[in-house]
Each structure stands twice: as C-alpha cells, then as structure tokens.
C-alpha cells in the first residue's frame, strides 16, 4: 500500500455457484468503505461478477487479481480453461456456449461478455484455445481519467 495501491487476489473455485460472486462482493464492499462513487461501484461489481462467473462456468475456476488506486479499479481474471474460439461471436448478446445443466440454473444466458463490455470502462481479453483466457477490466473511479486512455 506504500505505493498507493491496494492489491488483493482471490481464488475462483470451479463449478461452485454458491461461492461464485464472493470475490466481486468483497471488492464491492472495499469500494463502499473507500467511499467510491456508488455508480462506479456498481459498474465494477457487475463487470467483475460476470467475469468471475464465466471462469466458474467455462473454465474450472481461476484467479482474480484486483488493484485499487485513487483513480481506478483494475481487475485481472485468469483461467486455464478452453479459451474462446470466436471472441467476436462471444461478444454478441445472447450467444452462449454454456451447457444445458448451467442454463437450467438460470445462468449462461449469453450476457456475460456483453455486460462486461457495457459496464467496464476498458475491457481487454486475451484468449487462446486450449490454453485459457485473461480478462482485464478497468473501471475509472474519477471522471477525468477517461480521456487519458
């Protein structure tokens, strides 16, 4: 914290919906205690939750690394899952590859990546089939930061 950044990492467990979302909830709680703007907290919580859930559904879990500083929240979610063969297609609303068992539970409606894109200020996805996916989400906490990027 000496450099003005709070770093936290979380393990995202595989196939466990009961704890899916715990990492994003604790980031949400941290931002509330920091007194961040409620709307930015919401953007962070939703985009991170979607990324977290994707790791649970598709990739046997993964890890989330979070960095918070005065100006932004940076979230990196890494998995060693199957990767995304067609990223452009996956970005479309309603497109899903989630198995029926997951959709029966009300998840996997094909809104994960679109929602991330909608709520993140910056979204970068690096994916390789058979190797895994790294999702990087940035949400700016101050409004004047946007132009710099």
């Amino acid at each position: 914290m000496s450099d003005g950044i709070i770093r936290k990492s979380f393990v995202i467990p595989a196939n466990d919906f009961t704890v899916a979302g715990e990492a994003s909830s604790s980031v949400k709680k941290m931002l509330i205690q920091l007194g961040a703007d409620p709307h930015k907290i919401k953007k962070t919580a939703i985009s991170m939750y979607e990324a977290e859930l994707n790791a649970v559904i598709h990739a046997n879990g993964g890890v989330a690394e979070v960095e918070i500083d005065r100006h932004k929240v940076f979230i990196r979610i890494k998995d060693e899952g199957p990767g995304i063969p067609d990223l452009e297609l996956a970005m479309q609303e309603g497109y899903t590859t989630a198995p029926d068992s997951i959709r029966e539970m009300g998840f996997g409606a094909g809104m994960g990546l679109p929602n991330m894109k909608r709520y993140a200020d910056k979204l970068e996805i690096a994916t390789e089939v058979g190797k895994g996916t790294v999702v990087e989400i940035t949400v700016f906490l101050t409004d004047n930061e946007k132009e710099d990027h």
Binding site: I6, Q33, G35, I68, R70
Partner: protein, 448 residues
Amino acid sequence: MSPYFHSVTLDEAKCKGCTNCIKRCPTEAIRVRKSKARIINERCIDCGECIRVCPYHAKKAITDPVSIINDYKYKVAIPAPTLYGQLKSASSRDHILTALKMCGFDDVFEVARAAEIITNETKKILAEQKVQKPLISSACPAVVRLIQVRFPNLIDNILKLKSPMEVAAKIAKDEISKDKKIRQEDIGVFFITPCAAKVTSIKAPLDKQKSFVDGAISIADIYLRILSCLGKIDKVEKLSRAGFVGVRWANSGGESMALGTDKFLAVDGIHNVITILEEIEDEKLEDIDFVEALACQGGCLGGPLAVENMYVARAIIKKFIDEAKEKGLETTSNQDYHYDIVWTGEVEYRPILKLDKDFDIAMKKLETLHVINNGLPGLDCGACGAPSCRSLAEDIVRGNANETDCIFKLREKVRSLAIEMMELEAKMPPVLDKDETSEIKSKKRGDT
C-alpha cells in the same frame, strides 16, 4: 450530517451486555461497551430486529403514551391494518373499530383505505415506461433507510409515494375539519402501530417534510384497552370502509397482489431483504416490475410492537379479508381524493460505511483493516463487543477499539509475556549465581 432521530432505544437497567442483538443487527449498529449495548445512532434503521431478539426485553421503541391524545380537542385513531389480526375474539372489523374508538377517540379512519389509494397510484406509475424498474415499495420505512445506507444505487427505484399512514392522516384531518368545522390544529391524529420505524417516520419523515400524524401509539400499549372495550360494546358502529385490498396490506405480499401484475416479488425479514436488494443492485433479478420488501418477517403482522404471534395473526386477518370480500366493500377510489401523494423531498445516500472522507486515508485504513482482520481468530464470537472479527478490525481503524479487546489476542499477549517472564526468571546476575547448572546454561548460551 444533521442530527439523526431513530426510535429504537435501550433500557440500560435491563441490558445484560450479551451478544444477541449485536449479532442480529443488519447494519452492525450495536456494540457492547461496559456491559451495555450501545446503538450507533446514525447506523440504526429502526428495523426492530434487536427488540425481537433481546431475551431481557431491554430494547424498545419510543412511542407515545396513550395519554397523548388528551392534548387535542378532537381525537382520531388511524389503525394500521395489522391491528385487525391481533383480536381473535372480535366478530367483525366494525367491532374492533368501535372498541378502538371507545378507548377515548372521537373518530377512527382506517389506514387500509389510504393503502388502497396508494395501490391505485402505484398501478398508474407502473404503467409508465420511464420509471426505473423494479419499483421498490416504500411502505416499509426501515427498508427505505436500509437503501439509504447500503444500496445508494437503488434510491431511484424507490416508489416515491407517501405512506398509507400519511395519506390517511391528511384525509382524516381534511374531512373532519370540513364536515365538523373544526380547526386542523385542534385535530389530533394518532397512528396505532405495530412498527418501530413508523414512529421514526412521524418524527423525522424520510422526505424531510412535516408529518400529518400527531403521535404513534404502540398496538402493545393500547391492546388491553381495546380488548376490554370489545366486551363492553352496546351498539356496533359501522366504521369499516376499506375493501379487502387495503386490509390485505398487513400481510407480506398484500401490497403486491393488489397491483394486478404477476411480475412482482415479495420478500420479508430484513436479512432476506438485503439478499434481494443485492440481487437487484447487481442486475441479477430479471423480469420483475415491483418489489415489496418488508423488514419484519411476515410483513407488518410480524411487527415488533404487535402482540399476537405472526402466524396466528395471519389466520385471524384472513377472516377479515374474507369478510370484506363477502360484504363487497368497494376498494377506495382515488377520484374522491385529490391529494398530491408523491414525495416532495429528496432521499439521500448516507454513506455510513465509508472509512474516511479522504480517499487516500480511507485506502490506508482499509489496508490496515485487512492486516488486523487477518490477525484476528475469525471466530466472530462477539466477546469484544463487536458483531464480527471484521467489524472489530473496522472499529480499530476508526479508533474506537483496540486489538486487545479481542480476548484471544489478549490471551496470546499474556502468554508471550509469561514466556518472557519465565525466560528472564532463569537468568541470574553472575555474581549471585550459585547454581552450577545455570552456569552451564549460561556457557551454552555463550555468555562466558
């Protein structure tokens, strides 16, 4: 922040300083200090959870004594629909209302009627496209306060209509002053309530406007009088006018069912409400237009100032709902009432959880909080007076507690101190040391 009124208070003499209330409080607003529970005022949302859970009945809600009605020339009782569920011996709603009137009132006006007016208006608002959905009912003031402190993103979803209680008080005052030619200020309107939070909404309304209600009398306080009047009724007055729609508001789900849509969700019990509000905030709840969230389990029938068991009350009130249906009592129409029932003031976010007003300092505090929390045992035993280890860590960074408030931490310290004492005990100044073994020991240690 302006001074903040809330109605839940502590009876110090009865409080034993146990941990029941601190564990149940949804906003972590209670700490035990010097063997007494202390309520952190700005955190309390008046949900009444601590009143219900306290085994020593040390928590209570400030309500007005029944004698307050004597301050006014013309006295009107406005009973919450929940009252009907408290009196199983009453053969009709008219009996209950007549008995209530006999307790010293000049008139009674059912809050259930005003509830019907709110229902009609809510239907209109739901039909509009521009509102933020799901609409969250504002009927429960504790839930609105919860949103203010924990769910700022949902403030725009709150149904910004006055409460049935307020509307009932306004109509009663207007009608009586017109019909009976009595000055408004001579009319006292008293809410007969099962609810601690409603008392707060009278004394400090959410939208910061002045309340039309002049006092709140707890159902528990007036119950015995009503019961005794019930036995003395000579002539039953026809006072019940609300339809079943209004009476049903006492039940959890009653407000929603009146709206004529299936896209509603009714949740009761403050901890369940929090779970649902989290879902709404994270946009996980789909296809729901209206959320009725009530702090008390079972809705208002489970209010902390009610006397009858909530499940029994539900069975009793069912009888009166059916009665209203049979009698074909019309649902109150809004055409007769032209009141502005929309909130005029603003509901603001009260960020009580924020660690510091300066972001950088808050960052440092948060980091320290995590370090302290990791060092705590994680048992959430409550012996330090805080509800959980994390909240103790939070209290420490806020400067309101010490690490040694944790009995395990204290024990650890005592132990390491004892070990150090033992070690020191083995050491002797060389000139005094006559013990051979200790000489060997010191050699081993290398102090030759």
